[in-house]
């Protein structure tokens, strides 16, 4: 484990320049460049806002601002898009980089680190765009904003642990790559992003704690909309799960490394 970290440190220039390269490539060929990175999640927000708020006219309990639903949506999507991007990219990480893995010797841990870095930058851009829209809508987030960084850290750890484990398995069983996006769709709808957690019927409420994303997403919503601190007990539990998952993924990654190249 320690060797991995040393390797990553030796390759820090490469990791940083790769993150820069990824961003740069997005800018070079398309006119709107980086805007596309934030337009996609924002379009999602617009769709949900329009369909659910205007067409179905959902009401939010305890919020006076008439744009509250849009803010609520954006807070959830901010957390979800970070999670989704990391999981999706880790899933095909080793397959996409198969040729480099076969022909070059470098610390392989650099690859997930690059993904994490570039996804975090994307997410930060989305965050600033959301703040801007908040301003336009007349909503000023409060001091609870300081809880966002620890939320992001837990979110990244969870996504990385899950994505890395799935990415390793995907090298050997390509079905994984097909199933995961489907499962993620279910996860999206089983997480209170477009609806309130209170809407879930009483008899299913007990199952909610099984979804580790819920404390994270509600944490985002608390910080950005309600100006509350996160639910520490729930978040602590998820942090534990994420750490465990991450450790498992790294062990899996180490065990699989020798055989991985032979399968690519």
């Amino acid at each position: 484990m320690f060797g991995m970290l040393i390797g990553a440190w030796r390759y820090r220039y490469f990791i940083l320049s790769s993150i820069k390269t990824e961003l740069r490539v997005k800018f070079i060929r398309s006119r709107l460049g980086a805007l596309w990175m934030i337009l996609n999640p924002l379009a999602q927000v617009v769709i949900f806002a329009f369909v659910l708020s205007a067409v179905l006219s959902t009401k939010l309990p305890g919020i006076s601002n008439r744009h509250a639903y849009v803010i609520y949506l954006m807070a959830g999507i901010l957390g979800w898009s970070l999670f989704l991007e990391i999981v999706n990219r880790c899933l095909t990480l080793f397959i996409d980089n198969g040729n480099i893995l076969k022909k070059l010797v470098f610390p392989r841990i650099a690859l997930p680190l690059i993904v994490t870095g570039s996804a975090s930058v994307n997410n930060a851009l989305l965050f600033f765009a959301i703040l801007l829209i908040f301003g336009v809508l007349g909503h000023v987030p409060g001091t609870a904003l300081i809880w966002l960084p620890p939320l992001m850290v837990v979110n990244v750890a969870l996504a990385l642990g899950l994505g890395l484990a799935l990415g390793v398995l995907n090298v050997f069983m390509r079905d994984v790559g097909q199933i995961v996006p489907v499962v993620l769709q279910f996860v999206f709808w089983f997480t209170p992003i477009v609806y309130m957690v209170d809407i879930i019927p009483e008899q299913y409420r007990g199952w909610v704690f099984l979804n580790p994303l819920i404390p994270i997403i509600t944490g985002y919503q608390n910080a950005l909309l309600y100006n509350h601190a996160p639910d520490w007990a729930g978040l602590g539990f998820v942090a534990l799960v994420a750490t465990g998952l991450l450790a498992f993924a790294l062990v899996l990654f180490r065990k699989a490394s020798p055989e991985m190249v032979d399968q690519l």
Binding site: R24, K102, V105, V261
Partner: protein, 415 residues
């Protein structure tokens, strides 16, 4: 620091697990054994000493690529060890990690970073890389506008910009146009002269002869031969023929004069005598003068009825480069329906316009333009003769050209 490589009892097997779940389970439960093992490399041992240049040759599927991957460490050996010392640079493929949307300069940063160099090192090497690639303005253009040759130029420049202690090369010497090929070959040669140890995996037997001090022949995942270039390369050629002709035998011995004789063939036709004659006197000679009229005379004895007989010659210089060669298939003088017991005499008169030095003649008795279909007899370096320069002005090289200087002198301005 000197670059050395020690490979001991190296082996690699690809495992069949039956199901992928068994494989995953085996990472956590070591008692779960694979269903099947397929060895692509076994019991390979050799060393490359400091400053040594070693070539690895072998047919497709001999295990060369696997060996390279094991040595560079991209895959791990099933058994045995690889020990490396010094800074190692492995170039298994050029242009790894290049992005077509980035400029040559940006890709250089990226690619060199992937090789583990720091920002500062890359910046220091950048002018040299740019100069060596010689693609001018294009260096700051997106790589998708490059021709493939230009991409390879940048790729080779980056890959060899930093002098290693041990350089591992896989078939990357023939990139770009012939000008750049010369230039890149020259860079590798300079590395070698500077004491960099080199391991070269290639199909180009010419490169092996020029660059390597030693050659290792791999066959079916094993080291078949490890020795001097001419010895191993000739053996390899004979081996290629053997694949096609099951009953063929290969024998090799080094003659007193240092030339290596390699003999292979199925024996339906055999070389009875091969002589170099002076045309004027008709006497056999072993030393020819530059410009002398000589004749190669070969008598072939026939030991079975054969439908077609072709004789091929190769004349090589001391380094093993082929100076001249052809066969009677190319000259449309194929002998058909040759009967058992016949003796076929081939006479080849020519003017000896070779440069001073030692040359060898390798005859091949075959049935078509290659020795792969029927190799009756192929003898590398069967006969050796020397060429001396007595009458001509001093010149160097393996060829005498009938060339004379014409010199004129003028005062500037008074044309």
């Amino acid at each position: 620091m000197s670059g050395e490589l020690h490979v001991r009892d190296l082996g690699k097997s690809y495992r069949q697990w039956g199901s992928e779940w068994r494989r995953v389970a085996s990472w956590f439960m070591p008692f779960i054994a694979p269903r099947e093992e397929h060895w692509v490399l076994k019991n390979v041992s050799f060393s490359i000493g400091s400053g040594e240049a070693v070539g690895i040759i072998g047919q497709n599927g001999a295990g060369k690529s696997t060996l390279l991957k094991l040595i560079t460490g991209t895959t791990r050996p099933t058994q045995g060890t690889v020990q490396l010392s010094g800074r190692v640079a492995a170039i298994l493929e050029l242009g790894m990690g290049f992005n077509p949307d980035l400029t040559g300069r940006q890709n250089t940063y990226h690619s060199a970073g992937l090789m583990g160099h720091s920002q500062a090192d890359i910046e220091r090497a950048m002018p040299g890389i740019e100069a060596f690639a010689e693609i001018g303005e294009y260096f700051d253009q997106p790589m998708r506008t490059y021709s493939s040759g230009m991409q390879m130029r940048v790729a080779f420049s980056v890959a060899t910009a930093f002098k290693p202690d041990l350089l591992i090369l896989d078939e990357v010497l023939s990139v770009g146009d012939s000008y750049f090929q010369h230039k890149s070959f020259d860079r590798i040669r300079r590395f070698r002269d500077d004491g960099v140890s080199i391991m070269l995996v290639t199909h180009s037997l010419g490169d092996v002869r020029t660059l390597c001090d030693r050659v290792i022949l791999l066959d079916k995942g094993r080291v078949l031969k490890d020795g001097l270039p001419d010895e191993v390369v000739d053996y390899y050629n004979a081996l290629v023929a053997e694949k096609e002709n099951a009953k063929l035998s290969v024998e090799q011995r080094r003659e007193k004069n240092g030339w290596l004789l390699t003999k292979s063939g199925t024996g339906e036709a055999r070389v009875k005598t091969l002589q170099l004659l002076d045309v004027a006197s008709g006497n056999e000679i072993t030393i020819a003068q530059v410009g002398q009229a000589v004749e190669l005379r070969l008598e072939a004895s026939i030991h079975a009825d054969i439908p077609r007989l072709v004789l091929g010659y190769m004349i090589r210089d001391k380094q093993g480069h082929v100076v001249w060669g052809t066969n009677t298939w190319h000259t449309r003088q194929i002998q058909e329906n040759v009967k058992c017991g016949e003796v076929v005499v081939f006479r080849l008169p020519f003017n000896c316009t070779l440069g001073p030095g030692s040359y060898s003649v390798s005859p091949a008795l075959v049935s078509s333009e290659t020795h792969l279909i029927n190799n009756y007899e192929w003898i590398d370096n069967l006969m050796v003769f020397d060429v001396i320069n007595v009458e001509r002005d001093i010149f160097i090289g393996t060829n005498w050209l009938d060339a004379r200087f014409s010199i004129s002198r003028q005062n500037e301005g008074t044309h």
